[in-house]
């Protein structure tokens, strides 16, 4: 059974600091997605990565897919209060697999 782990579980930082959150599994993924969820709202897709070693940038956010396609990281540069939220990773072994989310990293950026 596919299992996704995320670390850290909670993160509280000052505005302007950098941070990295991780998503790990023993499974090989054909694709991995990152979402951000704000309180009372549904998750919003940030990025999809499909190729081992792939790096994608979205403004101050940098996403990396591991070479073996079993893990991923999200790095935020100069965090802002608007980055506060729950960051979720979701991976699939094939596009027809059941969707499984990690437990999330709850990020709080303090002004």
């Amino acid at each position: 059974t596919q299992l996704l782990e995320q670390s850290p579980q909670f993160l509280s930082i000052q505005e302007g600091e950098n941070l990295t959150v991780y998503c790990n599994s023993s499974s090989v993924f054909s694709s991995l997605q990152w979402y951000r969820q704000e309180p009372g709202e549904g998750p919003v897709l940030l990025v999809t990565v499909v190729t081992g070693g792939e790096v994608k940038k979205l403004k101050r956010l940098t996403f990396q897919f591991g070479d073996a396609r079993k893990d991923s990281s999200l790095h935020i540069t100069a965090a802002q209060p608007g980055d506060t939220g729950l960051y979720l990773c979701e991976g699939r072994e094939t596009s027809y697999d059941k969707v499984i989310f990690g437990p999330g990293t709850s990020l709080s950026v303090i002004p």
Binding site: Q33, G40, L45, T48, L88, F101, G104
Partner: protein, 112 residues
Amino acid sequence: DAGVTQSPTHLIKTRGQQVTLRCSPKSGHDTVSWYQQALGQGPQFIFQYYEEEERQRGNFPDRFSGHQFPNYSSELNVNALLLGDSALYLCASSRGSGVKLFFGSGTQLSVL
């Protein structure tokens, strides 16, 4: 272009009752998935509907059932509610087997 819409936004029920939640997918999407999200946790997959049939199902009891209509909208039904069913219920739509999910804002269900 309307995104995914869910109704109602909040619902309070008592143990043993039944509830129906509704979802309209994003325009152009034909696949609807339902998720249960407990406070502070990631969404748990309940089931997915495509072409009016349940295509996949997560580890949820038969008390959870669903339906997809010809216009791709969907309902989630939960019978014999338990206190542990209290959660945010999310609907997501996608195009076919596409990996990009678009979520609604959810229905917050409280079971007393």
